[in-house]
Symmetry: C2
Subunit: 212 residues, 2 copies
C-alpha cells in the first residue's frame, strides 16, 4: 500500500508548514495582529497572494497559527510530562517542562499563549474564542493531573485551586523573565514556589520527586 501522494498537494503542504513555522515565531514576539501577510511573504520570499490563498483571510491565518502553536506546545510541554507515571511526579514534571519550555524560548517571545491570550483577552471574536478554549484545555490538564495524584493518595488539594496557583506561577515567571532580560533567577524563584506549595499539599510518606 504505497501511499503515492499528489506532488502538488505535497508542495502546498510544505509551503503551508513553512509559513506557520515562521508565523508562530513572529506572533510570539510581535503578536497575532502584527503577523502581516506581506511581512510573512517577504521573509519567506514567496508572493503575498500565493501565501494569502492558503488561508483565505487574515483571521484564518491567525487561527491556523494558534493551532500550529498548540502542536508545538503539546510536544514541548505536555508529552514529556505524560511520559512520567501519574501522580505527584507527573505534576512536578509538568511544572518542570513548562518552565523549561519558557526558559528555552521554544517560541522566541516566550510563551506563545501568554502573549496571544493577553492580546485577545478583551476582544471578542474567533481568535479570542479559540484561545479561551486552549486555555481551558490546558487548565483541565493540570487539574486532571492533580486529581490523579489525589486518587493515588499522594496529594490532598482542591484541584481547581491548586491548578490556578501553579499556572499563575508559570505565567508570572515567563513574564518576569521577558522583562528582566533572560534573568534565569526568576525561573528558580518560580520553581521554589511550586516546590513549597506541592510539599504543603503532599501527603506524608509520599516520595518527593525533586529529591533524588
Amino acid at each position: 500500500m504505497e501511499a503515492r501522494i499528489d506532488g502538488r498537494l505535497r508542495r502546498g503542504d510544505q509551503t503551508r508548514r513553512a509559513v506557520l513555522k515562521h508565523a508562530v515565531d513572529i506572533a510570539s514576539v510581535d503578536g497575532l495582529e502584527a503577523l502581516s501577510i506581506g511581512r510573512l511573504a517577504k521573509d519567506l520570499e514567496i508572493s503575498k497572494s500565493g501565501l494569502f490563498a492558503h488561508f483565505g483571510s487574515k483571521v484564518e491565518l491567525q487561527l491556523a497559527t494558534i493551532r500550529a502553536a498548540r502542536r508545538i506546545y503539546a510536544v514541548a510541554v505536555v508529552e514529556p510530562a505524560l511520559a512520567v507515571p501519574p501522580g505527584l511526579g507527573r505534576l512536578w514534571a509538568l511544572s518542570d517542562s513548562w518552565l523549561d519550555y519558557s526558559k528555552r524560548r521554544v517560541f522566541p517571545g516566550g510563551c506563545f499563549f501568554a502573549k496571544a491570550t493577553h492580546e485577545y483577552g478583551a476582544r471578542p471574536g474567533q481568535v479570542h474564542d479559540l484561545l479561551a478554549a486552549a486555555n481551558r484545555e490546558w487548565l483541565d490538564l493540570i487539574e486532571q493531573t492533580i486529581e490523579e495524584a489525589g486518587e493515588l493518595g499522594e496529594l490532598e488539594a482542591d484541584p481547581s485551586q491548586l491548578a490556578f496557583e501553579l499556572n499563575a506561577f508559570y505565567d508570572s515567571a515567563n513574564m518576569a523573565s521577558l522583562l528582566r532580560d533572560n534573568d534565569d533567577a526568576v525561573y528558580e524563584q518560580a520553581r521554589h514556589s511550586i516546590r513549597v506549595r506541592l510539599e504543603a499539599a503532599a501527603k506524608a510518606g509520599t516520595p518527593l520527586p525533586w529529591i533524588g
Copy 2:
C-alpha cells in the same frame, strides 16, 4: 498670588488630558500598537495633525499613555492601600484593592499593565523599558509592604518570594476573568489563594485582617 493661567495652555492641557483619557482605554483593550493617531482623532473629533502635535511621535504618545495609566493605577490601587497602617493589614488591603481594580474594570480591558507588558515584553525599545521600570516599581512596593509587616513581627517570609507569588495570583486572576467573560469566581479563587498563603506566613497571634 493668583495663578492666572494662560488660556491657550489651559486649552492644550485639556485636549491632552482628553486624549490620554481615551488612549488608556483603547490601549487596555486593543494594545499600545493599535493605539493609532487617526483613530484617536476621529473618536475625539479633533484633527489628526493637531493631536499629533501634542506628542510629536507615535512612541511619545505611547509613553505618555503609559504614564497616564500609571497615575490612574496609583489612585485606584496604591493609594487605598497606603491609607491602611503598615503591616499585614496593609498587605491584605493592597491585594484587595488590586483585585477590585481588575474586577471593576478601571481600564475596560482589565489591567492596563498586564496587557501592555505582554505586548512589549519581547520587543526592545523605550516602551519596553518604561514598562519594565513600572513593573519593578510595583514589585518593590509589594516587597516593601511585606518587609514592613516582617519588621512589625506580623509576618515571616522572604519578601521577594512572597511578592512574586502574590503578584502571580493577581495577574492570573485578571487574565482568567478576561477569558471567561466576567466570571467573578476567579477573583474569589485568587482571594482564597492569597488568604491561605498569608495565613501560612503570619506569625502566631497576629490578627488576620480578613476576619472581622
